[in-house]
């Protein structure tokens, strides 16, 4: 079935389809039994989703929100200004240190790579070349 028509069916169930489109869809539904079955199936599923409403908010909900608001404001205000500055400075310092250490690690890695001994493959080929040169000399 055409996806666009299926989605039109959903819109119809949700009451989202303009009147003119509802009329056109109804004409189509009259002619197409499969489409009618599909609409019935979707409709049953849509109605089956009907469930009980969640319980309402407790009567003192607004008071709880205000309490929490006051508590959060107090906890922020209870930090002395100097302490807040110190905390901010520590965060900035931490970030700067992280960047410095990160860069240093990259430089160090590059230095290690430059100083590294030849790889196993390079040693192997060097040995192979020297052995074959020795053999050639022995033959001569």
């Amino acid at each position: 079935m055409d996806r666009r028509i299926e989605r039109r069916l959903m819109r119809r169930l949700h009451g989202e389809l303009p009147t003119e489109e509802v009329r056109r869809l109804d004409e189509l539904l009259e002619r197409d039994a499969d489409l009618r079955t599909e609409l019935e199936r979707l409709g049953a599923l849509w109605r089956g989703l009907e469930g009980p409403s969640p319980a309402l908010a407790p009567t003192d909900f607004a008071a709880q929100v205000l309490e929490r608001l006051e508590a959060s404001e107090e906890s922020t205000a209870s930090w002395p200004l100097a302490l807040r500055w110190a905390a901010s400075a520590m965060v900035v310092g931490g970030i700067a240190l992280g960047v410095f250490v990160g860069r240093w690690a990259v430089i160090e890695e590059a230095a290690i790579m430059l100083q590294q001994p030849p790889s196993l493959a390079e040693s192997y080929f060097a040995l192979l070349e020297s052995t074959s040169a020795d053999q050639e000399e022995a033959v001569r």
Binding site: E6, H14, L45, G48, G51, P52, P54
Partner: protein
């Protein structure tokens, strides 16, 4: 017409109270909370699946409103902003929970869920009917809880909160086409879950 006028005056009142709250008027702020608390708590409860978490999340949403009161752009409906913050907050919480547990979000009864909060309304006579309704609703909840988060949010906003595609698009900051697509995929997944469960 009357409805439109009432809606318009609610909108005006909201922004007026928010302006007062921004100046430190806690009574105005409390009135705002009281006006929107049921919708926000309800939405959080549906998204998170448990009462305690929902109350905590809703409180956090209102605290954010208070802190942003002065800077908030006074445009449209305030509840759209509240829904946006509530949805994002709950989805982030669910994502974090997923990472921590490394398990899919509650596929059976959610942690800390209180069955009393989800008692079905009395639809007819007898405890058998009530039991059947509760079981059916439990299955539906499990299927909704197993949906990907973006589909779950759209489904809840559309089906349970009764919002229009346009409003959902505003809240989730996506296009109407994306709302349509996510809702359709959510319905398909629920259908599959239902077929698999029967």
């Amino acid at each position: 017409m009357e409805y439109r006028a009432a809606e318009e005056s609610t909108r005006e009142d909201d922004w007026l109270w928010l302006a007062r709250a921004a100046e430190g008027d806690q009574i105005a702020f409390a009135r705002l909370v009281e006006r929107h608390q049921d919708r926000v708590v309800g939405l959080c409860q549906r998204l998170l699946g448990n009462r305690e978490g929902a109350l905590d999340a809703a409180q956090e949403v209102f605290l954010r409103l208070y802190r942003k009161a002065a800077a908030l752009e006074r445009r449209g409906q305030l509840y759209t902003w509240l829904y946006r913050v509530a949805t994002n907050y709950c989805l982030n919480r669910l994502r974090r929970r997923k990472i921590v547990r490394f398990l899919p979000f509650e596929t059976s009864a959610p942690e800390g869920s209180d069955v009393r909060d989800w008692q079905p309304v009395d639809l007819g006579p007898g405890p058998e009917r009530e039991l059947a309704d509760r079981q059916r609703w439990q299955r539906t909840r499990s299927a909704i809880a197993a949906l990907p988060l973006n589909q779950r949010a759209v489904l809840i906003l559309a089906r349970f909160e009764g919002l229009a595609y346009r409003e959902i698009a505003q809240i989730l900051e996506i296009t109407e086409g994306a709302v349509e697509s996510r809702l359709f995929r959510a319905m398909r997944n629920l259908q599959k879950a239902q077929e698999g469960g029967t």
